[in-house]
């Protein structure tokens, strides 16, 4: 149980800024996802937390104590890498017991805790197996056991599910979540998959190009994105320029009513957005009714995805699977005011 604080954390490689002025606070016992496209600085941040990489500027604090001068092996921040998971020259027992051996624990105690830990990751009796005899999923679980056995201050996972097939991912996700809750270990994992982050994390830190975009609970990334870029990363490309005046927004398609207490953008130029699944393709009232042209439709099995022309912008909307519309039709749709969110105006518009 460790409280982790990153203060103005910056890392430069020659002229490239990999991580730029990152400020972030992780509560003890929390499970955090660093989310972003590859090369956004999330793994670099992880390495700075472990001490494998030193920050160019800023501070990493565990429970209020600066860790910058503390060498990796003394931090108790254990990292599980994506590749090269297990020590190939050691059997499973020696792999899992490695951290305890380094801590000078007795052989007998190590053996006991190793078998306990193998039980926890559902691989009892695997002590004498060699790494190359194990499947990818089993290796992953052994690597997790090896990290957890030392009861780390912080557990860091680099793309823990990336190399697993769909079924194993689900299983591994459950396992990580359960054990993390049970042992109450402050954990941070890196992923580029937003679904994975949403399903697993208590809070998500979304990073682009080394800059933290938004740090919030998963729900917020759907309901209250900070910017059009954040909305886009969470599969929302429905944008419409407008001007907010009090409790309505003037747009090219007329005035839209909003909930003034729900939105945070001040009066002036804004971008209106509604998530595809929140648009009513079968309107229930006259409020915020707009008429738009159907550009295309795709049957998705459980729902129908419709592409719409909203004042020159391409929008997506999800309707019932049996929705009866044709391409080229102009249909009325409703933008429920409870689901209208306002983004800051895009640069240069």
């Amino acid at each position: 149980m460790t409280h982790v604080m990153l203060k103005g954390l910056t890392r430069r490689f020659d002229d490239v800024i990999a991580v730029n002025n990152l400020n972030l606070e992780v509560e003890s016992g929390e499970l955090i996802a660093f989310l972003g496209p590859s090369g956004c600085g999330k793994t670099t941040t992880l390495r700075m937390i472990t001490g494998l990489l030193l920050p160019s500027e800023g501070d990493v604090q565990f429970d209020g104590k600066s860790m910058v001068a503390v060498p990796t092996e003394k931090r108790g921040a254990v990292m599980v890498f994506q590749k090269h998971l297990l020590f190939p020259t050691m059997d499973v027992a020696r792999n899992v017991g490695f951290g305890l051996k380094m801590a000078g624990i007795s052989k007998k105690e190590i053996d006991r805790r190793v078998s306990e830990m193998l039980e926890l990751v559902h691989l009892p009796g695997f002590e004498t197996r060699r790494p190359h005899e194990l499947s990818g999923g089993q290796q992953q679980r052994i690597a997790l056991a090896r990290a957890l056995i030392v009861r780390p201050n912080v557990l860091l996972l680099d793309e823990p599910l990336a190399n697993l097939d769909a079924n194993l991912r689900l299983e591994m996700r459950e396992l990580i979540r359960t054990i993390q809750r049970e042992m109450n270990i402050t954990s941070i994992f890196v992923t580029h998959d937003q679904e994975e982050a949403v399903m697993l994390a208590d809070r998500i830190a979304l990073m682009f190009d080394g800059v933290l975009q938004q740090f919030d609970v998963p729900k917020a990334f759907y309901e209250r994105p900070n910017s059009a870029e954040v909305a886009h990363f969470f599969r929302n490309d429905n944008f419409l320029a407008g001007t907010r005046r009090g409790d309505c927004v003037e747009t090219g398609l007329g005035s839209l009513a909003i909930l003034p207490d729900h939105v945070t953008q001040p009066d002036g130029k804004v971008v209106v957005t509604v998530r595809p699944e929140d648009i009513y393709l079968a309107p229930t009232s006259d409020e915020n009714l707009i008429h738009v042209k159907v550009l295309a439709q795709v049957y998705m099995g459980t729902y129908k995805q419709v592409q719409l022309d909203v004042d020159g912008n391409k929008w997506l909307a999800h309707g019932p699977a049996d929705l009866d519309i044709r391409e080229g039709d102009t249909i009325p749709i409703q933008l429920p005011k409870t689901h209208i969110w306002l983004l800051p105006p895009a640069n240069g518009k």
Partner: protein
């Protein structure tokens, strides 16, 4: 098809390695072997008695060669291992030049560089010494050590070491517990190469050793140009024995598509 290549390879090895040794064995046991006899007409152990007698200096040369080769192996591990690791895992200014410099001894004939070094070694009082000969052997050995280990290290990566660090192992324990066991097969092959290169050095030993440091090639050389084929054959067999042992010992490593041989793609 693959079976056929396998057989071709085996036959080539037998023809190339084993066959030349057979006449040597016969020669070493021959007392009288004149044209057109297919086999010697008289046999004797006198050559072997000579080899093991102090006057031939073969045993002395063997021990000197062995000591120097082992010492050169230790030196080239001390120098080559850190260099290989730095080249394999880091990017730094002038890396290309350093890589090239490390390969230069393969390109430049040993006699050329040794002549230059000779002057320097005289001034440093390193000529006619064990250390001096070992140092000059190091020059042709380093490239092979570095070449093999660069490919071993780049294949090995740093993730396992990093993992060990985060699990509480300091740099020394990481090296002993994780890195060393991981690179050991490659290191063994590289050391064998080093051993054999030092073992086979003649010109450099003569120039720097100046006749004071007598190694096995130095003992052997006059016999090759001499007329006593039997003695030359017996000494040659003593000389080639370690090479054949090493070949048998490392064949398992060399046979696989292992990282060990990857480095030679760079040549």
């Amino acid at each position: 098809m693959q079976r056929m290549f396998r057989w071709i390879a085996i036959i080539a090895i037998v023809l190339g390695v084993a066959l030349p040794v057979i006449p040597q064995i016969i020669w070493s046991l021959a007392h009288r072997w004149l044209f057109p006899s297919l086999l010697p007409t008289e046999w004797s152990m006198s050559s072997w008695e000579y080899v093991f007698s102090p006057s031939s200096r073969v045993v002395e040369g063997f021990m000197n060669s062995l000591e120097i080769a082992v010492f050169v192996c230790i030196l080239s591990i001390l120098v080559g291992l850190p260099a290989a690791r730095a080249i394999a895992l880091n990017d730094f200014k002038g890396k290309g030049i350093i890589e090239w410099l490390l390969m230069v001894p393969i390109i430049v004939p040993g006699i050329v560089s040794t002549l230059g070094i000779h002057q320097l070694f005289i001034r440093l009082h390193l000529t006619n010494t064990f250390i001096g000969v070992s140092l000059v052997h190091l020059i042709p050995c380093i490239p092979y050590m570095v070449l093999v280990m660069v490919s071993v290290f780049s294949n090995y990566g740093t993730e396992l070491e990093d993992t060990a660090r985060t699990l509480g192992a300091g740099p020394i324990r990481v090296f002993l517990n994780v890195t060393l066991p991981g690179i050991l097969p490659g290191l063994m092959v590289a050391t064998m190469f080093t051993f054999l290169i030092s073992w086979g050095q003649y010109i450099t030993t003569v120039l720097i050793g100046g006749g004071t440091i007598v190694t096995l090639p130095v003992v052997l050389f006059p016999f090759i140009t001499g007329i006593n084929y039997s003695n030359a054959a017996a000494i040659s067999l003593v000389f080639v024995a370690p090479a054949i042992l090493v070949l048998i010992f490392t064949s398992r490593q060399l046979g696989q598509d292992s990282a060990v041989m990857g480095g030679f793609g760079r040549l």
